[in-house]
């Protein structure tokens, strides 16, 4: 990877957030974290983010609502949605609403890294 990428991980299960962050940092990503949609939007006001990885089911603002906000405030910013429930329907809804990628838990961190890489090179 040529330059550091800022990734925002939004997930209310803190240990999963930390796991994703630790793995991505091993590959040179700068990882920011938020526990729900509101925190994420707050952070994005002051931080330049290149990719957002967000859980769908979260207390407070959920992942789909967050994605809607991101798509209207930061058009073109890639969003990867992740979920632990009913893959088929959730995937369809997520993609219809504009998610750039969708992953079902449990997913490989390697795969997440690969998806982030492909989304980052797409806009270069």
């Amino acid at each position: 990877m040529s330059k550091a990428r800022n990734v925002l991980v939004v997930e209310d299960e803190q240990e999963l957030t930390e796991t994703m962050a630790e793995f991505l940092r091993m590959f040179g990503y700068k990882v920011y974290t938020a526990g729900n949609g509101y925190e994420a939007l707050d952070l994005m006001k002051t931080t330049d983010i290149q990719v957002v990885v967000s859980d769908i089911q979260m207390r407070g603002m959920d992942g789909l609502t967050l994605m809607g906000e991101i798509k209207s405030r930061y058009p073109g910013l890639p969003v990867i949605l992740i979920t632990g429930v009913s893959p088929k329907e959730a995937k369809q809804i997520a993609l219809e609403k504009g998610a750039d990628a969708f992953m079902t838990k449990p997913f490989h961190m390697k795969k997440l890294k690969h998806v982030i890489e492909s989304l980052c090179t797409k806009d270069e």
Binding site: T19, M20, E22, T83, S86, M109
Partner: protein
């Protein structure tokens, strides 16, 4: 109502102190395939309700001794699912309305005509069936909801374990330790086995929910508009 032969054997208890009324009701209902028992007092009705199960009770309102309302209250305690239709004269219409509040499903005004009687009886029995289906649907959808939450609650920790296995696999200290790498691989495989089980569970629950959801839709259309699309 379609042919009389298609009526499954629903059990109806008739409580009326006038023999002629009982005779007429019994004849009409039996000729339409219902299993009918008749008694001449609320006390006798209560006694038989202790011993046997009925889908529907048709009771006169004004009787010597225990009246129809008292019987109704007892039925609601003894057998809450049993439907009750009150038979009443014009003079007691006000009481009939009170009875509706007490849990009577419907009331018939004497003298009641055969078609009207059959219509009300059929409707009460349909409602009984609808109530049972609704209860089953509620049970199944509660299970489905639990399964969805359970799925997320299990998949998230699995993801944390998987992610940490991957971190260990890449750790410079363990990267070349074959035994450790083998153990990590075994753990990784087990995670996906658990996931498979969760998927099967989700599919199973979804199929069950669908089965009952469609049944319930059918019943709702049938009851509200009288026609099935």
């Amino acid at each position: 109502m379609n042919g009389d032969q298609t009526v499954d054997r629903k059990r109806i208890l008739i409580v009326d102190d006038e023999e002629i009324v009982r005779y007429s009701l019994v004849n009409i209902l039996r000729s339409h395939g219902y299993e009918v028992v008749d008694v001449a007092s609320a006390e006798a009705g209560l006694k038989i309700l202790y011993e046997q199960e009925f889908h529907l009770v048709l009771t006169d309102l004004v009787m010597e001794g225990m009246d129809g309302l008292e019987l109704l209250e007892n039925v609601k305690v003894l057998s809450p699912r049993t439907m009750v239709i009150l038979i009443t004269g014009y003079g007691s219409l006000k009481t009939a309305v009170t009875a509706l509040r007490l849990g009577v499903y419907d009331y018939l005004i004497k003298p009641c005509d055969e078609d009207e009687l059959l219509l009300r009886v059929r409707r009460a029995l349909e409602m009984l069936h609808y109530g049972e289906e609704q209860q089953r649907l509620q049970d199944v959808s509660a299970i489905a909801k639990t399964a969805v939450t359970l799925s997320d609650q299990i998949n998230t920790p699995l993801n944390i374990i998987l992610g940490n296995i991957e971190i260990l696999q890449l750790s410079p200290l363990l990267e070349h330790n074959e035994n450790v790498q083998k153990s990590l691989k075994t753990m990784e495989n087990q995670i996906f086995k658990i996931r498979e089980v969760m998927e099967k569970l989700a599919k199973l629950t979804k199929a069950e929910t669908k089965k009952y959801a469609s049944l319930s839709d059918y019943e709702m259309i049938d009851l509200s508009s009288g026609k099935i699309e």
